[in-house]
Symmetry: C2
Subunit: 426 residues, 2 copies
C-alpha cells in the first residue's frame, strides 16, 4: 500500500501553509436557502485531529439538481456516480468528504460509493439515485466500504440551515481559506437566495487534487433548465480560471434548486425573461467563487485578469486567454513584476487561434504597449512597472480580428508554488 | 523604445547562469561536411563584449534545403522569409544572429531581412532566395536595416570547414553549453557525413526565445525528399521535447544537403531503401541535439524520459506524453524526488486522448507501480524512491488501449526556473 509519503506530506503542507496574501479580509455573510440544511464536522477521515473532513447537505423533497464534471479521462468513482444519476435531475442528499479522493481505486472505489449512497438513502428516506457524492484528497489509496457510511447518522443529527461556514471548511484540503458567496435576487416578485461554497487552489499538495463547487438556491427551476444555467455559468467562471493548467480527476460543480421560495412564477426555459436577473446573480456567485479559488492558488502573490477582445470567436478568445494564463514564462514574469509583453506575444502566438502579428494590441494596467504589431511610439515603461508592483494585474489583449471576447483569471508562478509542490518531503 | 529592462536582464542572466548539471562532459568530435564552410564570431550585436553573436555558413552550388518552423501565429520576420523561399529548395548561405530576434518588429523587421539577404546574395554571388536567415534574442526591439549586412564581408573572410564549435557558440543566447552532434553513414557504398548544431533551453531569459537547429550533410538529396526527411526526423526529436510548454516566435530547423559526396546512388524518394541507414543516422543526430536542448532546460536538475505505449495512435501517445511532460505538478514532483504517480494519472486523464482508468499501467525506473487501474499489490516505494534521486528519470505509461507509442523528453521544474525567469530584475 502506498503508505505514503503522500498523506504525510499533505498534512505537513497543510500545517505550514500560511493564509494566501490574496485572501478576502473576512468570510462573507451568507443567506440561508430554504430547503437546505447542512453540517460540516471533523469525523477522523483526515489524519490531523479536529480538522473538519465531512460535509452533508439535505434537501427538501422536489429539489432539482444540475452539474458539470471534470473532463479527465480518469475520473474518480464519485464523479462516475454523479454523472450516471444526473439525468434524473433529483437530489435529496449531498455527501462530500476531504482526506481521500476515492480516485484510481478500482473496484474498492465503487464499493465505497455504493455503501455510502445506500446508507444515506436509508437514513434520509430517499432513493440511492438522489444521493450526490464528491471526494477530495489523496489519489490511489482505497478505503473500506464503510469509510463514510458509519459517520452519516451523527452528521444528520446536527444538520442546520446556517452551517455554511462549517460546510465550506469541511471540504477544504490545502486551501488556506474557506470560500463562499451569496446573492439575493427576484424571480418575478419572489425574492430567492443563491448561496454556494467551493474549494480548490490548483492541485496543491502532493496527490491533492480538485476543484469543488456547490451552489444552492430556493428558486423552483426544472432540472433541464438548471442544467443549462449551470453549464453557462460554469463556462464563464470555473472554466475561465487556471492556476497551473492541471486538471483534477474529481472536479465537480453542482447546483441544487429546492423550489421552496413560494409564489415564484413557473420557469419553462433557460431563455425565460423572468430569469434574467437570476441568471446574472447566479453568474456572479459562480465568478465570485471561481475568483476565490484563484486567490488561493499555490504560492500566488498576484491576482491576474486577462481580457481578450477582437478574437475570431468567443471560444478563440478563451483559448488565447488560457494560453497566456497558463504560460510559465508569462506567470514568472508577473511574479518578477516584469512588464514583459514579449512573452504575451509569444503566448498569443502559440495558442493556435487565428492571430495577426500586425493587428495585435496589448495593454497592461490600462497602458497601451503595442498597437498594430509594434511597440507604441515613445512607450514609457514607468507606469506599467508601477502597476506590476501591485497585487492585481490587468492584461488586455486585442487581436483585431473579430468580435469574440472573454476573460480569464489566473495567478502568478512563484517560488511558493515550487516549494509547496516539490519541497515537502516527509 | 523599450530601452529595456529586457536586454539588461538578459545579459545579467547570461553572466550568472552556471553550466547545466546535465550538460555533456565535453563538446563532441564533429565530422566536416564537404561543401560547407562556416564562421562564428563576436561582431558586437550582443552587449557583452567578445561574446560570439553572428554565424554564417556558405554552401557549394547545388545544395538543397528543407526545414520546419514554429507553429506560432506571430512568427519572426526571418521565419516568414525562410518559409516564403523554402519551396525553391535551394540554399547557398545561412546567416544566424543572436542578440535580437527580429520578432514583432513590423516593417522595420522586413527591411532588416531584405537588406541582409541582399547583401549576402551580392557577397556570395547567389540569388537572395538562396539566403536563409534565423535570429534569436530580444523580441520587439527593431534594428536598423544594416544591422547585419555590414558584418558579412568580415565573416566571409574567415569561413572554414572546421569552425563547428564557433558556429554552435555564436547562435547561443542563454544556453549554458554549445550543442552539436555528428554521424557518419553509408548511402550505398558512399560514406556521407551528417553534422549539426542547435541552441535553446526553453525560453530562458526575459524576452529570449527560440529553439534553432541546423543540420548539414554532404549527401545528394533532392529538396522534396529532404523535406520529408526533415519533417519526419523533427517530429521524433525537436517536436518530442518540452521544457516549459512555451513556443517561441522563431523556432527554426533547417537541413542542408550539399551533394558533395561523390559516387552516391541517386535518391528518388524518401522511401528509397538505400536511404534506410541515412535516415536512422539523421534521426539520431536530431534526437541527440533535441535531448541536449532539454539538458540545458532552465533550472533543470533531472532529465526525464517518458515512454507511452498502448495508445490509440502514435499521435495520441505523443499527446499523452506531452501532457505528462508539461504538467507543472508532475515536473515539481520530479524536482522534489517524489514518486508521485497520482499526478501522472491526473496528467494522463487531462490529456483528452482515449484512456481507461482500469487499463492504465505506470512504471517509474522500470518498477511497476500500477497495473490495470490499481496500485500493484504489495507495492514497495523504496526502489522507486532511489531512482527518483538520480538525474535520469524514466517513466513508462501503458494505456492498454491500442498500439500507438511514442517517447517524449523533458526536465524537472525547479526553483532555478523561477529564479531565471522571475528573479532577474535590472
Amino acid at each position: 500500500m502506498a503508505k505514503s509519503a503522500a498523506s504525510k506530506k499533505a498534512s505537513s503542507a497543510a500545517q505550514t501553509l500560511a493564509r494566501s496574501p490574496l485572501a478576502p479580509r473576512r468570510f462573507p455573510v451568507l443567506a440561508n436557502v430554504r430547503g437546505v440544511r447542512l453540517a460540516g464536522r471533523a469525523v477522523g477521515l483526515k489524519k490531523a485531529r479536529g480538522v473538519k473532513d465531512l460535509m452533508v447537505a439535505a434537501f427538501a423533497p422536489g429539489t432539482t439538481v444540475a452539474g458539470v464534471f471534470t473532463k479527465s479521462k480518469c475520473p474518480s468513482a464519485p464523479v462516475d456516480w454523479c454523472r450516471a444519476i444526473l439525468s434524473r435531475g433529483r437530489a435529496r442528499v449531498l455527501v462530500v468528504n476531504s482526506g481521500n479522493a476515492n480516485a484510481f481505486t478500482g473496484n474498492a472505489g465503487d464499493l465505497l460509493v455504493a455503501q455510502t449512497v445506500g446508507a444515506a438513502a436509508d437514513l434520509f428516506g430517499c432513493r440511492a439515485q438522489d444521493v450526490y457524492l464528491a471526494s477530495t484528497g489523496v489519489i490511489g489509496e482505497p478505503r473500506p466500504p464503510d469509510y463514510i457510511a458509519g459517520k452519516l447518522p451523527g452528521m444528520k443529527r446536527v444538520l442546520a440551515a446556517k452551517s455554511w461556514g462549517d460546510a465550506a471548511k469541511a471540504i477544504m484540503t490545502t486551501d488556506t481559506f474557506p470560500k463562499a458567496a451569496s446573492r439575493k435576487v427576484r424571480i418575478g416578485k419572489t425574492m430567492v437566495n443563491i448561496t454556494g461554497f467551493a474549494k480548490g487552489s490548483g492541485m496543491i499538495a502532493p496527490d491533492m487534487a480538485t476543484m469543488l463547487g456547490f451552489v444552492f438556491t430556493d428558486a423552483k427551476i426544472p432540472a433541464p433548465v438548471l442544467q443549462r444555467l449551470v453549464r453557462s455559468a460554469a463556462d464563464e467562471s470555473f472554466n475561465a480560471i487556471t492556476v497551473d493548467s492541471d486538471t483534477s480527476t474529481s472536479d465537480t460543480v453542482l447546483l441544487f434548486a429546492t423550489g421552496q421560495a413560494k409564489g415564484q412564477p413557473r420557469i419553462r426555459s433557460a431563455g425565460d425573461k423572468v430569469l434574467a436577473d437570476f441568471k446574472a446573480a447566479l453568474r456572479e456567485v459562480f465568478i465570485d467563487l471561481a475568483r476565490q479559488i484563484v486567490r488561493d492558488g499555490e504560492g500566488a502573490q498576484k491576482f491576474v485578469t486577462i481580457n481578450v477582445t477582437g478574437a475570431e470567436s468567443k471560444r478563440a478568445a478563451r483559448t488565447v486567454g488560457l494560453a497566456v494564463a497558463n504560460s510559465p514564462l508569462v506567470k514568472t514574469a508577473i511574479a518578477g513584476e516584469d512588464a514583459n509583453w514579449g512573452r504575451i506575444v509569444m503566448a498569443v502566438g502559440k495558442a493556435g487561434e487565428k492571430a495577426d502579428r500586425d493587428r495585435l494590441s496589448i495593454s497592461i494596467g490600462g497602458v497601451p504597449i503595442t498597437r498594430a504589431g509594434q511597440l507604441m511610439p515613445g512607450y514609457d515603461e514607468t507606469p506599467v512597472a508601477t502597476h506590476m508592483k501591485g497585487d492585481e494585474i490587468e492584461i488586455d489583449i486585442d487581436l483585431g480580428i473579430g468580435r469574440g471576447r472573454g476573460t480569464v483569471w489566473t495567478c502568478d508562478l512563484t517560488h511558493g508554488y515550487i516549494s509547496i509542490n516539490a519541497d515537502y518531503r516527509s
